[in-house]
């Protein structure tokens, strides 16, 4: 006689058994407690990351008083949004858009050059034993950990010698040095590239460059997407370098421009004496300017979802 807990095709499942099947389909190998535990933890993190973003999105709609009196996550008025937009644009005749353009130029330049030199380096460190390899790995690590504050003066002096201070190149060139990219490439290739494949190709007479071009590079498409995005993000938010190298406000990128815009106004220090003629900047305007700076990164990220997140690091010869 079949026991109560076995389900055979001959007899329809009873209520208890149906519940068990439902449980299994819903919770899988997580278990019901596990399912809700996971959900709860993830939702908590969603609130932690999401609420400030939501607040930031709504901030341009609230003026000075509304931002204190209205509930934090409420929408103020459309009028304030429009006014914030106009204030931000009015700052030095819409200089924010010049900064925006500069940011894009600097970022694209350092991204392409940086990746072109970093990926081959990371690859060769991962697959080839050549004299000086360990030294190069250590040196890369050391330079990655060097405090930017220590490098500021020497870098400035270097750029000065090359007569590049206060030009776009003073921002672009140092940013092409991308040790993080080299390391990530190194970690990726050393943990996922099948060396026997490379050896086989070498035995067949493949040159090192062809190996890289036809085997390693195609396998690294997800890595490329992730690296491009990280480079974009880091360079978009690059503050210290341009802050030191650039004097001419027309060459500023967004972070430096934003800093000067906010620091010289009363957005954060209500009693701060703004110079006559300078616009009175409010929190809403600061938030609006912040949003303008964040938005491109978000858009680029959403557009490149497939490369950055979807299936990152898969695609190598596994299983």
């Amino acid at each position: 006689m079949p026991s109560e807990t076995t389900i055979s095709p001959k007899t329809a499942p009873n209520a208890f058994q149906r519940l068990k099947i439902f449980n299994q389909r819903l919770f899988g190998d997580m278990g019901s407690i596990g399912y809700f535990l996971r959900l709860a933890i993830l939702l908590l993190f969603a609130l932690y990351f999401g609420l400030p973003l939501l607040w930031l999105l709504l901030a341009p709609s609230k003026d000075q008083t509304a931002i204190i009196t209205l509930p934090p996550l409420s929408f103020g008025s459309l009028e304030t949004v429009v006014k914030s937009w106009e204030n931000v644009n009015a700052y030095v005749h819409g200089e924010i858009w010049l900064w925006f353009k500069n940011s894009i130029i600097y970022v694209l330049a350092s991204l392409t050059i940086g990746m072109a030199i970093s990926i081959p380096a990371g690859y060769i460190l991962a697959v080839s034993r050549f004299p000086g390899r360990t030294a190069l790995l250590w040196l890369t690590l050391i330079t990655m950990l060097l405090p930017p504050s220590a490098m500021v003066l020497p870098l400035f002096l270097e750029m000065n010698l090359a007569h590049l201070v206060n030009t776009a190149w003073a921002v672009i060139l140092p940013a092409c040095f991308f040790p993080f990219g080299v390391y990530l490439t190194y970690v990726y290739y050393s943990s996922s590239l099948p060396t026997d494949l490379l050896d086989a190709a070498r035995v067949d007479g493949c040159s090192e460059w062809s190996l890289f071009q036809y085997i390693a590079l195609p396998l690294a498409k997800p890595l490329l997407g992730l690296l491009a995005f990280i480079s974009f993000n880091a360079n978009w938010n690059n503050f210290f370098g341009p802050y030191v190298m650039l004097n001419n406000s027309k060459l500023f990128n967004l972070p430096v421009g934003l800093q000067t815009m906010i620091a010289g106004t009363s957005a954060i220090r209500p009693g701060f004496n703004t110079t006559p003629g300078m616009l009175k900047f409010q929190q809403a305007d600061a938030a609006m300017a912040g949003l303008i700076m964040i938005l491109p990164v978000v858009i680029v990220f959403l557009l490149s979802q497939r490369y950055v997140i979807g299936g990152a690091f898969t695609g190598s010869v596994k299983g």
Partner: protein, 307 residues
């Protein structure tokens, strides 16, 4: 005899060619590293021994004096304690939470997981001044969406909340908000690279999702976790923007003028004109970060080639 030589020669050539092409792969990067990494680094090292009393650096004139001045400064011990406290809280917590979230997300890949990853990543676009701006509002119990929590804990105002003793936790909260997303994406990507065969075999053996995460996935993403540790540790040693902007530059919070060592270095350089001591302090921070990295690398064999 001539046969042996004939057999030896081609092998040598191939090996040498391989080494040469390896160097060529790394050459552009090497040049940039010399110009923008090692060069400035060495110069900074040089400066730490220079005397700046006359405005222009007199190299080697100061000997170790700059170091002594820096270490004997009354704020030195204070900043070191602060950064130590900050590291003890932020590094283990940062890594543990990132790995936890990545594992949780990876248990059930799908739209929900994907959407959450996007959400977690977006704050990474908020850095530097924009981040501090947001933080100031988030920590104001009057205006913040988290106000009800802060008021329930007894903090009625921003000044009550930002007390010096709470700063390590506060900077951790701010830093995690901005920095965790990228690492979650990287660790999730690493998890995607775990062989599905291994996971299936485990499932057949009766492993549930939690055991898979703990005993299989987590050990297999070890290299990435190590990489994360090294960078987060060294990066957090150099904490600067948040305490600097919350100190005196933007707002009068209860943040001491020089809270972190990097701020002390900045103060030496730009308040006192003592670039030598500033460089000395910066190099100390490098040594600390490097020390931790060295220890971890040796201990885990991070640099070994897996072939």
């Amino acid at each position: 005899m001539s046969n042996q030589i004939a057999n030896a020669a081609p092998r040598l050539n191939r090996q040498r060619r391989r080494t040469l092409s390896s160097y060529l792969f790394a050459l552009p990067y090497l040049l940039f590293m010399l110009a923008f990494g090692i060069g400035p680094g060495l110069y900074a090292f040089l400066i730490s021994f220079a005397d700046f009393k006359k405005g222009v650096p007199q190299y080697f004139a100061a000997g170790f004096k700059n170091y002594v001045v820096a270490f004997k400064d009354f704020r030195f011990a204070f900043t070191m304690e602060n950064i130590a406290e900050f590291l003890v809280i932020s590094v283990p917590l940062g890594i543990a939470l990132v790995v936890l979230v990545s594992l949780l997300l990876h248990m059930r890949p799908g739209r929900f997981s994907s959407a959450l990853r996007t959400l977690f990543f977006i704050p990474g676009a908020v850095t530097g001044p924009a981040l501090v701006l947001l933080a100031i509002f988030m920590f104001s119990p009057v205006m913040s969406p988290f106000g009800f929590i802060q008021r329930a804990l007894g903090f009625e105002s921003f000044d009550m909340l930002i007390a010096p003793s709470r700063l390590p936790v506060i900077f951790t909260i701010i830093g995690f908000f901005s920095g965790a997303g990228m690492w979650i994406v990287i660790q999730y990507g690493a998890l995607e690279g775990v062989s599905t065969e291994v996971l299936e075999a485990a499932k057949i053996d009766g492993c549930n999702a939690w055991q898979q995460a703990l005993y299989i996935k987590f050990p297999l993403i070890r290299p990435y976790v190590i990489y994360q540790f090294i960078l987060i540790f060294a990066g957090n040693v150099q904490l600067f923007v948040e305490p600097q902007l919350m100190g005196t530059t933007w707002i009068n919070a209860n943040v001491p003028q020089q809270w972190a060592p990097n701020q002390l270095a900045y103060s030496f350089a730009f308040d006192l004109g003592n670039f030598g001591s500033a460089a000395a302090l910066s190099l100390l921070m490098l040594v600390i970060g490097l020390g931790a990295a060295y220890f971890v690398i040796r201990w885990t064999g991070f640099f070994d080639i897996k072939a």
